[in-house]
């Protein structure tokens, strides 16, 4: 079990220096394509007449962890859901503007969402494993997309995905036990393993630790950090320390508008916008 970082004092200067320390500790992956993986241009999401996300333009860097912070109801989860088109499932919800994944427009109605969601996986706030066995949960995606040539191949995918999600050692003896018998944190890691099994390019996390205890939270954070480089990660979080600990870039949203986007260290140490500063120092939100 990893030792938890000390909870910083609320006083502003100390908090900032604490974040700065954590941010600067991080290694940057080398050989990365510098072009951004996800590009949004004037992207808006509407629920009926109400715009939940307004004219958002941002470039999400490839292979890095980007966190989205902001007060409740600022549209950050909506934006995340719009990226892999889960918003299509909500009646009366539609989008304007453009999102490109590696240069391909994925916001058009004719985009194959099945193909898209395979490339952009999503982990939800509450762990939601299928009410099946652990093995069946992980094997579901590869089976669905016909990725495994045979039983042995599938076993291998399941094992490597569970290893990548740091769950293998805990469940290797009971792969065929029901997934709902796992603890909350284990269930969440299982959901991550399930996504990794279909080899996506982007993994979206929608407040993945808000329903978990601190120990499970730190495990998930380690896991997300380990995904850096192989996957592009976008994580929505309420917890600014979490954003500081695990992300390379941070995007601050407020009332449906992106207020600021930048390197996490810069953002937490010297935010450009006054509203960002007020938010990260706990004056509102």
């Amino acid at each position: 079990m990893r030792e938890l970082p000390p909870v910083p004092d609320i006083s502003r200067d100390e908090a900032i220096s604490e974040f700065a320390k954590q941010v600067s500790r991080r290694d940057r992956p080398e050989d990365l394509d510098d072009s951004p993986l996800l590009i949004c241009r004037d992207f808006s999401v509407f629920y009926g007449d109400v715009a939940a996300v307004k004219n958002l333009s941002v470039e999400i860097p490839r292979g890095e962890v980007t966190s989205i912070i902001g007060p409740s109801g600022c549209g950050k989860s909506t934006f995340l859901n719009a990226v892999n088109r889960m918003t299509d499932l909500i009646p009366g919800c539609y989008t304007r503007g453009l999102i490109q994944l590696d240069g391909e427009d994925i916001s058009r109605p004719e985009t194959d969402v099945v193909w898209l969601r395979r490339r952009i996986g999503m982990v939800f706030q509450k762990p939601n494993p299928f009410p099946k066995s652990i093995y069946a949960n992980v094997a579901y995606g590869p089976r669905l997309h016909g990725m495994a040539a045979g039983r042995a191949d599938l076993d291998e995918i399941v094992e490597s995905s569970l290893r990548a999600a740091a769950l293998w050692d805990e469940v290797k003896d009971r792969l065929h036990a029901p997934a709902l018998g796992l603890s909350g944190g284990q269930q969440q890691r299982l959901c991550i393993a399930r996504i990794l099994a279909v080899e996506p390019e982007v993994v979206l996390f929608d407040e993945p630790t808000s329903a978990l205890d601190p120990v499970s939270t730190s495990k998930i954070e380690d896991l997300i950090a380990s995904l850096r480089g192989r996957y592009t990660v976008v994580i929505v979080t309420h917890n600014m320390q979490q954003a500081a600990r695990i992300s390379d870039y941070t995007m601050f949203m407020y009332a449906g508008v992106m207020v600021e986007f930048g390197g996490t260290a810069d953002m937490f140490i010297k935010p450009k916008e006054n509203r960002t500063e007020l938010y990260i120092t706990g004056h509102f939100g």
């Binding site: 099945v114 898209l116 969601r117 939800f124 299928f130 009410p131 995606g141």
Partner: protein, 540 residues
Amino acid sequence: MAALLVAAGFLGIFLVDLIRRGASALRQTEILTTISYRPDSVADPSTAFPEDVRDLVSHSSVRDVSKEGRRAEISVTVHYDEDFASDPASAIRDMTLTKADFPIFLQDLAPLHVSREHLLAMIEEESLESLRQDAEKDPSLLGTTKQAWLRGSAGLQQFLLDSTGLDSDTRESAERLDQAGRLRLEFDHAAFGDGKTVERWVLAESDIDQYVKGKHSEVGHRAETYEQLMRAIELPAVADPDVAAVIAACQELREKQVSRQDAQPIIVPNEEQLQLDAQAWETRGRIDRLLKADQIRLVFNHYFFFNGDSKLPEAAGMKSAVVGSVYVLTLVFIICVPIGVLTSIYLEEFAPDNWLTQVIEVNINNLAAIPSILFGVLGLAALINFFGLPRASVLVGGATLALMTLPIIIISSRAALRAVPDSIRMAGFSMGATRWQVVLHHVLPASISGILTGSILGIAQAMGETAPLIIVGLVAFVPDIPMSPSDAATVMPAQIFSWWEMPQRAFEERAALAIVLLLVVVCALNSLALFTRSRSEKRW
């Protein structure tokens, strides 16, 4: 709480009353008697029984004697061919009957051509074999033809006894052959020789049965009346009283009582009454003697479970109704479950939320609340009058009940689907599953037991439904089990309904027992639903 206790109390009273009435139907009176199968007794079957029990046995036993004692025969031309020795069936060829073969009043019908296959279906194989043996003994027969009465097949036997058996084509030919006098029922010499007497337990008549069980019976009541009367006029009770003397004595006594201003002066019987009462007294005495001699016994009433319906209460059973119920409910299940589940999947998972789906939804909810008899009227108007399905059939009954059950199944299936948390659907979608895949892989497996529970409850309701079936004719008198969907059928509640209407007292206990049986089946179905529901409780 008080309301619950009152309800439980009434339920208890109901059950106790039912079981009290129905329990006696579990036993049935049988009489030990000799039956002599002789050519003349088979023609007039009641003479097969000895005189002292002839009026005690059930008419169904009497009927059985004429059925068992006779054998169907068919008159055909036998051709002794060259092939005959190896294949005796070759002796039978297609047969054509001309107008002249029919009685005068049927001669305007077309001439009859009966194919070899139909004839062979009506002839017992063994009788062909015996023809072959004849030809072996007497080789000069080869190459000749002769007209002969051959033993009929089991199917033909059934056809001649109660117009069932044989397939429908053959049956048509058989009907015409019968008109031409080519079929007959003859005393079964093969089984009984020139006459044979057997000893057997047979069903007693229902009034005798009621008397033996200690219930109200006509024979018991009349005998009692007669005894009281004779005691009052101080004459010995005899089987053959001097009617005029008894009536005169009664009148004398009555005048005396009236002049004394007695509260209840004796009622003077008429001649006919008196004779009937005396007869009953004699019969009762005979029954008591037979009982003492162990020639009358009460046994487990297997007739109730293994006989079809009958107008004779002692021979009436639930079998045709149970089989009818099984057929009808199977049909309901086959129609309702696929359509209901697919509809609810569409409405829950696929349908856009617009005015059309809302109208559909409101209508489905309303349909579930409509009085069931209206579905009967709908079935009558649409299925029978418009589509021309045969009335009283399994098909019409099943389809009518299906109309009634469908909304119930749709509503419960939708509830089961809705109980599956959205997070499961989201998980499926986020893995790149299509809507159908999400439904098939995740939503249906998670809700299947809920759907089954609802379906079973719907079926259980259909099982107890009577009103719509009365409208489409499923209260018909059905002594035989239905063999095809278009055959007339009845179901358990309808059977109870028709028995309850019958005038004979013995039907009352049978109806009560039938209600108990129905309750047991419905309770079993509901327990099954509870069981599947308890197994379906899942943590999310």
